[in-house]
Every structure is written in structure tokens, then in C-alpha cells.
Point group: C2
Chain length 464, copies 2
């Protein structure tokens, strides 16, 4: 008899009422008297565990089962009894229970509260807990929602290279990738390390962004997106930074900054709606145990039209607010997290786009506005998190781009291909980057990026 | 007036007959006389270009348009005329054409045959060509088909870490990831490089496989899959090897080798069916220009039941074949590509699984069969390509696994967490790895892995 996934039983319980079923699962709870006992089992396909009732009278191995450890893997054959009056909607009355793989009694994930720090130390076991089971299922569902959103609009998914010979925009510190033997570094005549002998014949790093490559594809396919890992070798130990994280970078041609923001807003709303629909048990759990008010907030966002305000306007609002900030507010200075959160949480009480930043705050490839001072950039700020998306219209005018690179001392060396894109049909185009983990934190209420990554990589930590 | 994507016009042309439409696109061809001309434009959303007719009598900038270069970006306003008798099903009679971004006359992608080698040199422009436009769209569609296949069965998508402190199974040469300054390497007292001062506090590499981490998640969620980049620092310049490639690694619990092969077979059939349905123009192009017989072969595969043969049987078949092979055939030796292709192409003429290899040919984590000599492994071999999938049931018995690691001299150091999975409910489980680019090569008939990756990384080459 073929087994049935526990998800299927929960989703279509009426179909199985009074039927004999076989399920597999891991023991999440076990309590028994001399005469009968209750196993709570979970096969990983559904958030809620399944209750199994077993009795000494019908179970040859009753004693074995009453002693089975937490985390043991079992197969249960029994009859599904609908229990509409009970807390759980049904239970299995066991006829047979086979222990497929027992567990040792020193199982680290005993039924009690554990600190998040402890859970990070057992990252190989924490997906079995309620919190992390919910986090990783939501993570998976959000990843799929993102693909679905873009694919249904015929975007082309591009795998931007991970190992790169260029340093993009100096977006951050980079990890070096090499196969040179550090104890026998080859040297050139003038004593420098001879990278021509390295694997790729030059110095290479881990990518910080796939945007430039995505631009090449957008100028062929019109609408494209990347979704892949990116890296920052920054020694910052905060709850919002990881050294390895995933990023989504859509890029659209024949499109300007307004189109870009329209796309970003539609995407965020789609992701929220899809996740609420496909992970209701998990989202209720987060709302109840991790972040009260989460569902209300998400619901509000789906039904809001996101505000758009220029950087210049934002600075005026902040200056007139009468609020004391730790960092100064002045035209030309970066907005700090406290400013961003004040704007989105207290002024607008919903997600906002701040646009048209001073060019000196932003990267070389952003399109210069007619005022000569600002660029067509946009940051999406959301209540509770702050910046979640950063985007811009790209500078498509070859002469302006070259002048800007010169101004910033960026050599054209290595960027010839990028400039080519402006030489041959470089129409207006725009794009943005979404930090995937930031989105998961936002959706789940989890407050540390280490707890939404399966096996986080942070300074001094690359376990598992 | 909002523009319409060219895909929409092709897919629903009747709806737009005699209507005025606005389209954007890049010029793929332009020929004209004194009185009229034809632009062939493509906006990247559809494989087939759109024909635009323009006449001196209704176009103020007729002269400009008649001189517009290949690759220029244009906006066309005009009337859609259905032309059921002509080669193309409709054309646009232009009322207005605006040049959004012209192109220089030295555009490298002129209308003539280019070698694949030349196209690799202009990887930033080649997505605009017919062949590469088809390749990358199919690549995107296949990626989505894979996600869809697993998500619809409720598999959890896991992002396995890219930077890793373990060397997995010694599956291949690895790239080192570091932030140490090679000109000032910190040393320990005994003169060794002091990796405790490196970014992660130890030596780290780029992953060669996410399998071990996927196992941890399968033992929580039952059914999971990874889809991410993996790396091999092997100095092999073949048409089938890249240093950076993408891999899909499903892992299923409460499952054995037969379940594993069932899943792999269903997945391959799903991918083919989905791609034929969603990229018919591209697949016809490959069939006509890249690999004649492709569609027939793919159709055959969808309708075949894949053969399953043990390694021991395969060796007997090869030995009795009377065929002269370059490499010897003997029990205990690896099957070479020539053997694999003979089996799948000449003996069975369809995909086959070869199972139960000698343990010495395979990795330490594969489950030892009762004969003590072979392991529960499977390779999927397909006509025209050879091995495309490698999988196994995993050794879930702690004592057997530990003995095997000892036999192979693999230290338990760094694998404690992997052994934990056997200590706490380590039920039977299995999984496989699919090389994503191999699958794309198989589906498109493209013969070099460099031509199915957007920006390939191979020895001495990490351009763009």
C-alpha cells in the first residue's frame, strides 16, 4: 500500500474519513500510558503535525512505540477518524507502526524553547522546528512566486556569472577567487603576483551584482531578470548583512524610471498575495508567534498605492518634521535608516519610493537628470525594514556615461562591452535589485538575516 | 498610446487586424528603394521578427529611416495588416517611425554567418542573434519548468551555500575564496598560512555540490531540491565542461533508488513537454538549423519508458557486443563515454539508467548494497549526450557510513553534522544531480557548453 503525504490528508481530509491510510513521518511528540499513547508526527510536507493514537490491545510492538524517541522516523498504517469537535480535525487510529529509523536520546532539538543562537549552531537540524520549517517553506514559495511573476510576463531568466573579472561598480568589498598556491605564488619580473598564471589568466572575484550583464540581455530580450547569489566581503556583523545572499535583478528596455517603479510595486504585491495564499498555516504562525500585526501590515500593503517622493522633497519633509535624528539631514547627504524608517513608518505609513538622489550618492551607471545634479534612481522603503529595493534608469547616452566615468576615475578598461551596449541600439532602460533575504525577513517578521538563510555565511562563520 | 509587445501581436494577430498599434524594437534588417522600404524589427519578446513597411509618401523622415543602421532601436506607429497569403502572417504599415537610439555602422553582428568562436567574443551582443536568442529563451523556460515541476509537487527549494568550508566529497578541484592579501599573508608560528585570520576564520572554497546540505533539508521536509551554481577548478578544455555551471539536486526522504529514478524520469519528460509547448518557434529553429531530427528524438523520449539495467548487466552486454572499444570493458572499471553512448544509442535507442555500480567507482555516501561490492547508484544516459544525471540512495546506516569513510580515509572532522543526520531519524533517502547546461545542450542540440551559458567561465577565460 502506497503511503500518502500528510499535506494531502490535511487538504482533503473528508476524502479519507474512515479509510485505511499509510503515512511516513518523524516523531515530534510521544506520550503514553500503559494502555494507549499519542504520537505526533510530521513528514515535512505540512506545517501542522498529525496525531496518531495507538493502543496496547492492537499494537504488537506497543512497548517499543511507547519508548520511541523524538525525531525517529516511523511508518504508520491506520484508519483516519474525523474528529470535528477536537482541536485537531482528524487523527489516525494505528493498526501498525514500524520504526524506520530510531533517534538517539541526546537529540539536540528537545521540546522546549531554544535561543536563536543555539538554533544557528544546529543549522542542519533547525528546519525540523516550527519556526524554521515555516521560514524555509516560505522562502521556497517566495522564490517560486518571483519566477512565476516574471515568467508569466514573458521575462527571460538570466544566470549572471558568479565569478567575475570586473569589480562592477565598486559596490562593495569582494572575495577573491583563485587556484594559485599561496605558498608558491608566481611572480612577474617586477615582483608582482603573476595572475596570468591563475586559473582564469587574471584576477577574479565573486560577483556583487549581475546588473551589467542583465543590461546586455535586456537590450536583446527587452525584459529579463536575474536570480542568483551575490557576495560582499564586508566585515559588518549586523542583523541585516550576510556575506552571501541572493538577489533578484530585473532589467527592462524601452522603459524609464516610472516603468521600473511600477514593476517593483507590482512584484512586491504579487509576492505577498501569492505567499499568503500558498502558505497560510506558516503565515498565521509568524503572525501569532514572531511578529504580531504582520498579516494586517501585509494586507495593508497589498491594498496601498505606494507613494513616490523625490529625495529633495524627502529632505524637506525630514527637516520640517521637528524630529530629532541622530544623523544630520541636509541636501547632498545620504539618507540613513532612521530617516528612511521615519518617512515610511511615520509620515506615509506605507511603502514609498524615494527618487532622484544626488548623483554623488549613487553609482556611475545611473541616468543623469536634466538638472545635472540628480540621477534617476529609486529606493523602495517599507515599514519595519527600511530599504528593500534599489533601482534606477540607466545612463544610455554614451557621451554622458563616458564623462561620468571619467569624473569618477573609473577606467573604461574592462567596460568596453558595457559601452558597446550604448553604441549599438542602446535604448532607454531601467532595472532594480531586490535583496531576497530582506524580502523574506519582511514577509516573516524574522529579525536576523542569519535566520532566513539555510546556512548563513557571515564574518568568521562558514559552518556546514 | 501604450506600445504592444511583438509577442502579443503574433499570438493574437486577428485581434489587431486593421488596428493602429505602437511597437518598439531593434532593427534586424532594412532595405529600401526611393519610394518605400521594409524594416524587420524585433523587440526581444518573440523569436520571429516583425515586418514594417514604410513609404516616402507618408513618412516625413523617410530618408532617415531608409539609412537607419542594424541594431538601432525604433518606435513604430502604424496599422496592422493581416497578410494570410504572404510568408509572414501580418505586417505593419508605418505612419510614424521614431529612432530611439541609432547604432554605429561598425555593429559587429552584421547579417552574415559568424563562427561560434566569434560569437563567444561578443557574448554581450550574441543574445540578439537567432541562435542565441533561441538558446537563452529555452534556457529560461527550462529553468522555470524545473521549478514548476518540483513546486507543484510541494518540494521545498533550498539555496545550498556557495562558499563552503568543507570539500564535500572531493568531487573535483576547488576554487579558493579568500580576502587575505597575497602580498602579506599572515603566518602561524610554524610558518603555515594563518587562515584563522581569513574572512571566515578558515580556508573556504566554492561549492562543488549542495547535496549534503540538501540531505539535511530532506530529512526535515521530505522532498526538497536545490538549483544553484556549482564550480570545478579543473583545467579541462572540452565542449562539455565549464568551470561554473548550474546544477539541480533533488533529495527525497522515505525513498529508495527506484523512487529516485521514477522522479528523474518524470522530471526529464516534464521538462521536454513543457519546453516544446512554450518555445515552439525556438525548438523548430533548432530542429531545422542546429540538429536535424531533434524534435523526433525528444518526442520519442517523452513516449518511452526508460530502461533500467545494472552495471553488471551492462558490462556483460558490452563484452558480448563484439564491438571494438578504445577503452577496456571489465567489471570494476568505469564506463567510458563510448560505452555509455553505445548502450543508450545502439542497444536501447532511448534513455537508460545504469544502476548498482562497483563501490570503488562511486562516492562515500552512496548506500552499500547487500552484495557488499556495489552501491545503490544510478546514472541516466541519453542518446546523443551520454550521462546527464547521476544519483544514488544515500547510506543512512551510521555504522556502515562510518566504516566506509574510514576505508576511504575521509576524516569525520567537518562531517559531524552529516553523521548527526544518521543519528536522529535518518530514514532512507535518495537524490540525484542534473547538470543544467547538459540538459540545455540535450534539448537544443547545441554542441558546446560555452554556447548555452550566458557568459561562460572556462580555463583562462572569465570575460564580461
Amino acid at each position: 500500500m502506497k503511503d500518502i503525504e500528510i499535506r494531502e490528508l490535511f487538504r482533503n481530509k473528508e476524502k479519507y474519513g474512515d479509510q485505511e491510510v499509510v503515512v511516513h513521518g518523524w516523531v515530534r511528540g510521544n506520550r503514553s500510558s500503559n494502555q494507549f499513547g499519542f504520537l505526533s508526527i510530521n513528514d515535512g510536507t505540512f506545517f501542522t503535525p498529525l496525531q496518531v493514537v495507538y493502543e496496547a490491545d492492537n499494537l504488537a510492538n506497543f512497548t517499543e512505540i511507547s519508548k520511541v524517541h523524538l525525531a525517529a522516523g516511523v511508518t504508520v498504517r491506520g484508519t483516519l477518524a474525523l474528529t470535528p469537535e477536537a482541536k485537531q480535525p482528524f487523527e489516525i487510529k494505528a493498526k501498525e507502526i514500524v520504526v524506520e529509523a530510531d533517534s538517539q536520546s541526546d537529540y539536540p532539538l528537545q521540546k522546549k524553547r531554544h535561543t536563536m543562537e543555539f538554533m544557528r549552531e544546529i543549522a542542519h537540524l533547525r528546519p525540523r522546528s516550527n519556526t524554521f520549517s515555516a521560514v524555509y517553506r516560505v522562502r521556497s514559495i517566495v522564490a517560486y512566486a518571483i519566477h512565476k511573476f516574471f515568467q508569466e510576463q514573458n521575462f527571460v531568466y538570466v544566470h549572471a556569472p558568479i565569478i567575475t573579472g570586473s569589480d562592477a561598480e565598486g559596490a562593495g568589498e569582494m572575495f577573491q577567487v583563485t587556484t594559485l598556491d599561496p605558498d608558491n605564488l608566481p611572480r612577474t619580473e617586477d615582483g608582482k603576483i603573476d595572475y596570468s598564471q591563475d586559473f582564469f589568466g587574471k584576477e577574479t572575484n565573486l560577483t556583487v551584482s549581475g546588473q551589467l550583464e542583465a543590461e546586455a540581455f535586456a537590450l536583446a530580450f527587452r525584459n529579463v531578470y536575474t536570480f542568483g547569489p551575490t557576495f560582499r566581503a564586508e566585515n559588518s556583523n549586523t542583523a541585516r548583512h550576510a556575506s552571501e545572499f541572493w538577489m533578484i535583478e530585473p532589467e527592462i528596455a524601452f522603459a524609464d524610471l516610472q516603468d521600473d517603479m511600477d514593476l517593483a510595486e507590482a512584484m512586491v504585491k504579487y509576492i505577498i498575495t501569492y505567499t499568503l495564499e500558498h502558505a497560510p498555516e506558516e503565515m498565521n504562525f509568524f503572525n501569532q508567534f514572531i511578529d504580531k500585526g504582520l498579516l494586517e501590515r501585509l494586507d495593508h500593503i497589498v491594498n496601498s498605492s505606494f507613494e513616490r517622493v523625490t529625495y529633495t522633497e524627502a529632505v524637506e519633509i525630514l527637516q520640517k518634521s521637528g524630529k530629532e535624528f541622530q544623523y544630520p539631514v541636509e541636501w547632498g547627504l545620504e539618507l540613513q535608516t532612521e530617516h528612511e524608517r521615519y518617512l515610511t513608518e511615520e509620515v506615509y505609513k506605507k511603502p514609498i519610493f524615494v527618487t532622484d538622489y544626488p548623483k554623488d550618492c549613487k553609482a556611475f551607471y545611473m541616468r543623469l537628470n536634466d538638472d545635472g545634479k540628480t540621477v534617476a534612481a529609486c529606493d523602495m522603503l517599507v515599514p519595519g525594514v527600511g530599504e528593500i529595493i534599489g533601482g534606477s534608469q540607466r545612463e544610455e547616452r554614451l557621451d554622458v556615461l563616458e564623462a561620468r566615468m571619467k569624473e569618477l576615475g573609473i577606467s573604461e578598461n574592462g567596460y568596453e562591452w558595457y559601452l558597446d551596449l550604448r553604441r549599438y541600439g542602446g535604448v532607454k532602460h531601467a532595472g532594480y535589485g531586490l535583496g531576497f533575504e530582506r524580502m523574506i525577513m519582511y514577509l516573516t517578521g524574522m529579525s536576523n538575516i542569519r535566520d532566513v538563510l539555510p546556512f548563513p555565511r557571515t564574518p568568521k562563520s562558514a559552518e556546514f
